[in-house]
């Protein structure tokens, strides 16, 4: 981890000035640490270039050692790249606010849908309606209905409607039910599945979501940039949610998806229970990635 190698290199820089030579060595250690943390290679490359440019461009103040300076530069740069802190969801003045959740299979969309509905009701006094629009996974509709029952939050589903029409109906129904926030739980899909990505586009066309969140598994490896890029180009994402951060994955995927989409990481999932959704803290994530 960067703690073992980074601090060794950094310790070796004690009392020294920043030179091209020691920047190069330190940058090599950072690169390994970030790759082991699953930050995507192109993102690592651009990050280390930034860090080394910054380090070389610095006026070294008397008495400050190169090692300390490096730690600060890396930490600060990473925190800044991961930010901003913005868990707020702007709500519509007229009509229901529509939130669409999308992502790869098994990333945690259905669970996150329920967590978000709970958070919006309990903390923002919203009246949410969850929509079971995954028609393909066995018992997906049942899964959302069970979660809705646990939370006492209504779940909409109408048989014989394809997801775009189903979601459109749901938004109409929300008005009728007096619900002011609609959360669309969609089927997991591959970013390379043209038909299913097209279906997602149709859902967005029909419901004009106010928020479109990509739900990503925090333990995702190098592939995170591929899927995030594709989802972002297909739908104009408004935010990212990272799940399963209660594990010990370093979570480099967070930097990858942030960097490739430019969208804010709004929340993180930190457990299976429905109260385990927290606002994202870039500084904590930065420390975690650095190990």
């Amino acid at each position: 981890t960067i703690t073992s190698r980074f601090t060794d290199i950094v310790a070796g820089l004690r009392g020294k000035k920043i030179t091209e030579g020691n920047v190069k060595e330190t940058v090599r250690a950072i690169r390994v640490a970030l790759l082991e943390a699953d930050v995507a290679l192109p993102v690592v490359k651009s990050f280390v270039k930034k860090v080394s440019d910054k380090a070389l461009g610095l006026e070294v103040v008397e008495g400050v050692d190169a090692g300390q300076l490096f730690v600060k530069i890396v930490q600060d740069e990473l925190t800044e790249l991961m930010g901003p802190v913005d868990p707020e969801i702007p709500f519509r003045n007229k009509g229901p606010t529509v939130i669409l959740l999308a992502g790869l299979q098994g990333s945690g969309k259905t669970t996150t849908c329920a967590k978000l509905a709970k958070l919006l009701r309990d903390k923002k006094e919203r009246r949410p309606l969850m929509v079971a629009a995954d028609l393909q996974r066995p018992a997906a509709i049942e899964q959302l209905k069970v979660l809705g029952k646990q939370l006492d939050i209504p779940v909409f589903h109408e048989p014989d409607l394809a997801p775009p029409k189903l979601c459109e109906r749901a938004v109409e129904e929300a008005q009728r039910l007096g619900c002011d926030t609609v959360l669309l739980d969609t089927a997991g899909r591959l970013h390379i599945d043209e038909a299913l990505m097209g279906e997602l586009k149709d859902v967005a066309k029909k419901t004009k979501p106010d928020q479109i969140f990509l739900v990503c598994d925090a333990m995702t490896g190098q592939d995170a940039v591929n899927s995030a890029k594709e989802f972002n180009e297909t739908l104009e994402l408004t935010g990212l949610i990272l799940t399963k951060l209660d594990g010990d994955a370093r979570g480099g995927a967070a930097l990858s998806v942030k960097h490739i989409t430019g969208k804010t990481i709004k929340f993180i999932g930190t457990g299976e229970k429905l109260d385990r959704l927290e606002p994202f803290h870039p500084d904590r994530m930065a420390s975690r990635i650095l190990g």
Partner: protein, 276 residues
């Protein structure tokens, strides 16, 4: 594009990059490119030789494919484990169908007694395939479900019992303890069992897969891996750093959400796909 000639740093860096992006991790990627550099030191190489060199080396690491360890007599018990959302339940449906097609009498145990609609999900697969499923009370102790399933498997002479478990992170001590208890119950009821403990790994997972494999192996003696979602763009190269830490054969790969989207692991095909 690699050009035949001296193996220069640019060419090696390109190869190292593609290995890293396939989730080999920086250390194993560097080892492989160093091996390549040493092999071609001072020699002229033909571009067409590089990839085959790597393929040969990687196939050697993967070894020969290993099938399921069937019981000598009685029911073969297969415990399926893994972290959340990797594809355990879906893989069990695929395995059940495959065994059924080869003439085996298959029983499935709905050992995920916790997650919303987990039993229903497996139940739907069971119905579609015409396969018997053992289920317990809602929120029952999974060990109790497994206990019942083993009794039924032995009494009604099933050839194979597939046990589904709840997803769990290896960092959740109480859940790993729960899994260990299930394992002990199996061992107690059935001395040779479980004959297989299959850890399901999602091919999109990065270096954390190494932790998953080693921790689950420590807990419940994993005997094989199922690598899912290889129909996506992830290459599953993390299998190589895993094999550094622990000897675990990949037995199957998942290549889609349908019940037929399961393939017996073919090391040559897998390695070829890494460079595809």
């Amino acid at each position: 594009q690699l050009v035949s000639g001296k193996l220069d740093d640019d060419a090696l860096e390109e190869i190292e990059a593609s290995l890293i992006q396939a989730d080999f991790g920086p250390r194993v990627a560097l080892e492989l490119t160093d091996a390549l550099r040493d092999a071609y030191k001072g020699k002229e190489f033909k571009q067409e030789e590089l990839i085959p060199f790597l393929k040969t080396r990687l196939s050697a690491i993967l070894g020969e494919p290993e099938g399921i360890r069937w019981a000598d007599s009685g029911t073969t018990v297969i415990l399926v484990t893994g972290v959340n959302g990797t594809g355990k339940t879906t893989s069990i449906a695929k395995l059940a169908k495959s065994f059924q097609l080869s003439g085996k009498k298959v029983l499935v145990a709905a050992g995920d007694t916790f997650r919303a609609a987990a039993v229903e999900q497996l139940g739907i697969w069971g119905e579609r395939l015409g396969i018997e499923m053992v289920r317990g009370e809602e929120n029952a102790d999974p060990a109790a479900v497994v206990f019942d399933a083993i009794d039924i498997a032995q009494k009604d002479e099933y050839d194979v019992l597939l046990i589904d478990t709840a997803g769990r992170l290896h960092t959740q001590t109480n859940l790993m303890n729960q899994l260990e208890k299930v394992y002990r119950v199996i061992q107690k009821r059935f001395p040779e069992a479980p004959h297989e403990v299959l850890q399901v790994l999602d091919a999109t997972t990065g270096q954390n897969a190494i932790r998953q494999a080693t921790e689950f192996k420590k807990s419940v003696n994993v005997t094989g891996l199922v690598l899912t979602k290889l129909d996506g763009t992830a290459k599953g190269g993390v299998i190589f750093p895993i094999l550094r830490e622990v000897q675990l054969p990949v037995k199957y790969i998942g290549v889609g959400e349908g019940v037929d989207d399961l393939q017996v692991f073919d090391p040559k095909k897998f390695v070829a796909a890494l460079f595809g």
